[in-house]
Symmetry: C2
Subunit: 492 residues, 2 copies
Amino acid sequence: MSKVITPMEQDYSQWYNDLVLRSGLADYSAVRGCMVIKPYGYRLWENMRDVLDKMFKDTGHVNAYFPLFVPKSLFEAEEKNAEGFAKECAVVTHYRLKNDPANPGKLMVDPEARLEEELVVRPTSEAIIWNTYKGWIQSYRDLPILVNQWANVVRWEMRTRLFLRTAEFLWQEGHTAHATEQEAREEAAKMLEVYADFVENYMALPVVKGVKSESERFAGAVDTLCIEALMQDGKALQAGTSHFLGQNFAKAFDVKFSDSNNKLEYVWATSWGVSTRLIGALVMAHSDNQGLVLPPKIAPLQVVIVPIYKGDEQLAAITDTLKPIISQLKDLGISVKYDDSEHARPGWKFAEYELQGVPVRMAIGARDLANGVAEIARRDTKEKMTVNLDGIAFYIKTLLDEIQLHLFEKAKNFRAEHTTEANSWDEFVSILDGKGGFVSAHWDGTAETEEKIKDLAKATIRCIPLDAKEEAGTCILTGKPSNKRVLFARAY
Amino acid sequence: MSKVITPMEQDYSQWYNDLVLRSGLADYSAVRGCMVIKPYGYRLWENMRDVLDKMFKDTGHVNAYFPLFVPKSLFEAEEKNAEGFAKECAVVTHYRLKNDPANPGKLMVDPEARLEEELVVRPTSEAIIWNTYKGWIQSYRDLPILVNQWANVVRWEMRTRLFLRTAEFLWQEGHTAHATEQEAREEAAKMLEVYADFVENYMALPVVKGVKSESERFAGAVDTLCIEALMQDGKALQAGTSHFLGQNFAKAFDVKFSDSNNKLEYVWATSWGVSTRLIGALVMAHSDNQGLVLPPKIAPLQVVIVPIYKGDEQLAAITDTLKPIISQLKDLGISVKYDDSEHARPGWKFAEYELQGVPVRMAIGARDLANGVAEIARRDTKEKMTVNLDGIAFYIKTLLDEIQLHLFEKAKNFRAEHTTEANSWDEFVSILDGKGGFVSAHWDGTAETEEKIKDLAKATIRCIPLDAKEEAGTCILTGKPSNKRVLFARAY
């Protein structure tokens, strides 16, 4: 497969696909809409998962695992949730294949092995989990339940994109149960903060925290909080959601608890999730035409060292000098690879590690060695520096921090340049058709207007920002009064 | 739910179920044969997974993720594999539910949303993975591929038991591709060693390493290596398998590589896996009528400290003294919980932590404090020791190591007492009907005899031990000549 990547200016969408495939993050599979997460992509996911998992545990959550299947009768119990996911779910109807008498060597579904009740492959687990919680909750002493699950889910999407929208994806879903509305609302808000912290400080991607409009709300939620990020093509991407579910699922599954006064009450709920979609966001936000650009804090490999040598003797001298530096880097908690393989020339290696987005590259030749220096190249800015070998491990450690910050600042500046207030419909459309990005505008608050705007301008309300200030204005489309701006964008 | 556990002497099977449910490892679910892994059980699985994952990475493997679904046409490609799993697989036939006009509020499968090709929920992933490897392998330079996957799989078992046999379970499956038969065989053997190392040194469970007879072989394998462990009721349990797959899957999916002489060859394969079934083995091997007994190296919680006090002042004094000890324990890498909750009396707490199998309990009251001592109780032997607070953290660290070893030695002694040579059919049956365990006996090597023995004595060949020595003898059933003993047992 050619390693050439379509330039993003030419075709952003093709650039993205090329990059994901050629950097070895993922591959297409034989199953419609499902992808293979390749080792390099999975390592990235592991790093993201490990950070998030620690954040969840540090905020008092524990992991558990619930069944992949949701019996149809449970699936349909919470009406809105069912309605939201019924249209695109994988349904297991049989539990056996048998030899097909008409086609020797082929199998067919055994009609005698039809399930009494169909099973839905979980598109999300509220139903199966709340049916389980019913057995776990009797009294206020059993609350709160703060459980998270790392799992695969399936949504039969018609148009799929690697990482961004796949029929099967990996995610985590938190499902908590509380004695009071306030506690549940606080939990939903707290987890939104955890997500924002992770996406900003590890993925180096600034986010807007907000609330979804009613029509963009999670099916079955009372309120959906979200974080929204901006990609380099000016389109927005929902990076995580945290739902206050009220008592909807408790009522659907009859989950009550006796409070301290022995009064029976329905339990309050939240759920929250982020998925492998975040990898798509990461690629789209930072990368360039040479390949991935990965934030050091979650990069599968932080530093690569390429020796440039002629003959075994030069290589041995370089290797001897580098050995203590490599162990020093490892001691500093930095992942490092020393690539002295002979199968490729340094230039080929440079291109390969650029493609993979390794944040720092160190190259060292015989002359460098004589001068006691090495060449350090930053993946993000492509700057090259000649650095003294003495103390170079600490130099690299500082540089990795700097790269992390720089990526965040760069993305933040990009977002600032691509967040615009619009005060008329023409202005609104011309921004969207021009530089794109977030458009901050007044909206009359009705689902009808929201739908019309979506039809006319292909833009959706990404969120009502949590920090939106009161401001009198008139709806961009209808001219009706509005008291705060919301954030529109074309979105993934 | 009552915390009383049926004594194992009375009903071993009920003891096991009671224990798994009441210690909070798992719960039944609304889905036939599927279980909920509760937080305590999942934490145990996380600990086991983390150790294994490191072992896999240390032996050069990387993780990846492949689709949950296997299209029927891929599933049936490797004939024996398909035959082995077709009888018990979950089949997705539709991708949508719709409102059922006959039952308002209910959903039904939408007959218009039938998949063109049915999808099997993976019972194992050789088919989908080898179909993918076809695109990854052209030349010997692309080999070996050393990939592992942590995933859920589904096998529609008719008789299920928590952890031991469930329709859905969690596991890891390694799938490697090699240029030569020898390299693949060495890989399969190496991973068996990794499993044996893990099960013996972390789960404290001695295993016999061996090869499966042809009829017990994995469907699609040329050879199945296995580790077999013994439970306290004298029944054996297969704890892990590592398969040499030959070129079966490469041929089924047409995966060839050009070797260094530019000659096209089929690729050689292995696969290997362990699952949440190991948790069942862990429970059955070490626990007692009071609850779980967990090896310190993988226990979710290693040390619990229970203060015994009257009034806040006593509690404060105890807490002050314990604070530095607790941080010292943590610094030593020991997980510790200080349970000063007021909701329960010390006796209740003691029983609870015994049920949960926490390896070491420390109790300390006002008088102990005055004497500068604490009471240490071992979960495994139930011994209690009065120990000086001075240096108690190091004492506990050593004790944890001792408990780990003791559990292994105890299980090893049990196995030695329950491994018997049988030289006649009567002897064979009387051992199985008596103390049970492994029975080492001669077998004529035919599948027919193996099947008869299974019918007559309910015992299967667990394995042909790798270290079985040449020894002339006659088959226990047919009297035909045999040159080595194999290991029989009744098994889970």
